[in-house]
């Protein structure tokens, strides 16, 4: 693992993470959809592949959908696909590469970023705090 030790994560990737990625789970869901570019993923599939609960998988997919990173097919069950028309496609590609090379740095960054105050405000009104 011979990487230049403290090369920071590129600014555009950091910005993207701050704006759209709240947790490692969100990141994995996004990258899963991105990698299988043409394939559609249902919450059940995502929860199976990532070993996460169905409820979390659904929440993450919905959040990414709301951020316009994923599009849905509208069928039942709802399936999600990466939005290839998204202006962030290049950034996500870079993020995928960097995550492969420097997993730990990316994870540390995700959890060190200051909480978005607006999201914190909105989340304060969630009565049940079992979402990650």
């Amino acid at each position: 693992m011979n990487q230049p030790a403290e090369e920071p994560i590129p600014e555009h990737v950091r910005r993207f993470i701050v704006d759209h990625i709240q947790s490692v789970e969100s990141l994995e869901v996004l990258l899963l959809c991105f990698a299988g570019s043409s394939g559609e993923h249902s919450p059940a599939e995502v929860s199976r592949v990532l070993y996460t609960s169905l409820e979390s998988a659904t929440t993450r997919l919905e959040e990414l959908h709301r951020d316009k990173l994923l599009v849905t097919s509208g069928a039942d069950p709802m399936k999600y696909r990466f939005n290839s028309a998204s202006p962030d496609t290049a950034v996500v590609a870079d993020l995928e590469k960097i995550y492969k090379q420097r997993r730990v740095s990316v994870i540390s960054f995700i959890y060190s970023k200051p909480t978005d105050p607006l999201r914190a405000f909105s989340d304060a009104f969630r009565l049940r705090k079992d979402e990650p």
Binding site: R66, L118, R119, S122, F125, R126, R128
Partner: protein, 86 residues
């Protein structure tokens, strides 16, 4: 209830409402739109009361306007929590 304080409150509610509207623009989170609406209604209520000229009966009506603002907040909270259950 001095007019000055009424004026400050009305302006304060308006400013808060505008901030919430901006948060809604930035995040597209419905909760902020509803809080914005609630604060605008509180501003309206405060202004309404100020122009009453001491007619106590109509005061009660204006307090129902305040209730409307809080009901909107309650709806916002319910709405925020309903999306979770699937």
């Amino acid at each position: 209830m001095s007019d000055f304080i009424s004026g400050m409150l009305t302006m304060g509610y308006l400013v808060a409402g505008i901030f919430f509207l901006r948060f809604w623009r930035d995040t597209r989170d419905r909760l902020f739109a509803m809080f914005g609406a609630a604060f605008f209604i509180l501003a309206l209520q405060r202004a309404g009361l100020a122009f009453l000229n001491d007619v106590p009966e109509s005061a009660t009506l204006w307090y129902f306007v305040r209730l409307l603002a809080f009901v909107i907040i309650i709806i916002a909270i319910i709405d925020k929590n309903r999306g979770r259950k699937r």
